[in-house]
Symmetry: C2
């Protein structure tokens, strides 16, 4: 069994590759839920959905979110009612949020609901939220505090960031199966996801970082950054705001207590010595995943390290 810590976009790419290289039933995907938010009274779980749609083969890979070929008729009507329209909820996508919201109200946990939905879509990998409790990544800008989706989607990550915190993190409990998956895995993979807003909340979920430090499994991380910039999204800006050097070395440093092997891009080969000094084995390869063959190749390289 493999345990995988993931956010949305970058994680979805590596996981798609992994699902072709190993039996998906062997994968337990521990998803960030710090980006979750309520819109139009519906509970939206962007990272879980991106991973689920991706493994179901229905994700819009060009956009990096939502369902391929989705329509936006409801969104247009929301506009007529004066509702917020900055978050582009597609019509098929809405059915997911409506169904999730109904099941949560019926008393199911987020983990239960996630499991029901992914099974219905034919996804064989286990998808678990980091927690069933509500955690919300809050972004402190110089103009006030906003949710991560407001920062990322509404404000297109333009505002300067003073700080970030995960509201509710101290009192949340890890979802059933998360700690166990890390303890029992023969390898744990840290996806090339935003270290501050995707992997960060998972690591801060009580018990998870400790399980990563203590597990006998080898823990393999993949950098989401090449040079000084994230392959996608605002990871570098947020790392800088949090006082971490925005580079593969900065990330490796913040994972140094639990990561055994770290994959960086060949372009960053000069960082190898610095990262190895942290006691981490470094492998330099091509970490960009533009095509399915890129995703599969990187997944194979990760699996080759696992086999060692």
């Amino acid at each position: 069994m493999l345990a995988v810590l993931t956010g949305g976009t970058g994680g979805a790419k590596l996981i798609q590759g992994l699902s072709h290289e190993v039996d998906p039933a062997e994968l337990t995907l521990i998803c960030n839920t710090g980006d979750d938010f309520v819109l139009h009274g519906l509970y939206v779980s962007p990272d879980i959905d991106t991973i689920m749609y991706s493994l179901a083969g229905i994700s819009d890979e060009a956009k990096g979110w939502g369902v391929r070929g989705d329509t936006f008729a409801a969104l247009e009507q929301f506009g007529k009612y004066g509702c917020e329209t900055w978050f582009k909820l597609g019509d098929k996508d809405l059915a997911t949020h409506i169904t999730r919201t109904r099941l949560l109200r019926d008393g199911f946990t987020l983990a239960d609901v996630t499991d029901q939905l992914r099974r219905r879509l034919g996804v064989r990998a286990t998808i678990v939220p980091m927690s069933n409790d509500r955690v919300e990544t809050r972004v402190q800008t110089f103009k006030g505090e906003i949710s991560f989706q407001e920062y990322f989607v509404k404000e297109r990550w333009q505002p300067d960031v003073r700080g970030i915190y995960y509201a509710g993190i101290e009192s949340c409990r890890p979802a059933p199966g998360t700690i166990e998956a890390i303890e029992r895995a023969f390898a744990v993979i840290i996806c090339p996801s935003n270290p501050v807003t995707s992997i960060g909340p998972i690591l801060a979920t009580p018990g998870i970082r400790k399980a990563l430090v203590e597990t006998e499994a080898s823990v393999i991380g993949v950098s989401p950054i090449i040079g000084q910039s994230a392959i996608s999204g605002p990871a570098h800006n947020l790392m800088a705001a949090m006082g971490t050097e925005p580079s593969a070395a900065g990330i490796a440093g913040s994972y140094a207590d639990f990561v055994d092997v770290f994959l960086i891009d060949r372009q960053d080969e000069s960082l190898k010595t610095e990262i190895e000094a942290l006691g981490i084995t470094v492998m330099a390869t091509s970490i960009r995943m533009n095509s399915l063959s890129d995703k599969r190749r990187l997944a194979r390289e990760v699996m080759a390290l696992v086999a060692k």
Copy 2:
């Protein structure tokens, strides 16, 4: 000011005609909410929506429900999640139910929400639910009890009906503005809607029938039945099940305590004497409304009676 009691389909046709013949701002439309139900956790109010969409000029008149040109992408996705799909919620239509549900959860009343939505769609007529409290028309069949929408849409009104009742009707209060509209109107119009499941719940809402009996306004009803059959829907079956003769005369009889004038179809002219014996003035005309010009003509005939 005109007060109008209405259900969905038939009522929407006459109201559309009225909205062309009088200033819509003069109309207070008191809508049945006995058909309201919760689907996918969303509060659906079929009669209010039919009236609202119709007056907003966006109703699908060919189907008799929903928004013209709506798509059904979410419905397809609901099917993939194993959710109920017998009630054909369109994508634009979903935005209405989602917004209504959110506002109700935020503490607004159904009347508040209805008013907000109809204004957003540019509807100048006032639309009020009969009550802000939950009333549910229950249909007792020989195979068990179901909601009206299950009977009407899911079962296509095929089951034999033993009885009907309005759950919650005794303890519900009329929505603010309903009684006042009837008291202050210079005429009240009872639309050609199902007397059992559309007009029936409105009349049973505490205080409304009394206001109709006591109002000095002339009360003008239009039959939804020609011969032994409703122009659309199961009114005749339901009337028979309730022990009322399924005919214009049967309806007039059940409205006799408050109706002053009753419009029947020319085909039913033979019923004139029987209805007049109840103290009701009868006018025979063509009550079918297949085109906008039919709707306007019938509306003009109603308004001519009001003017008398």
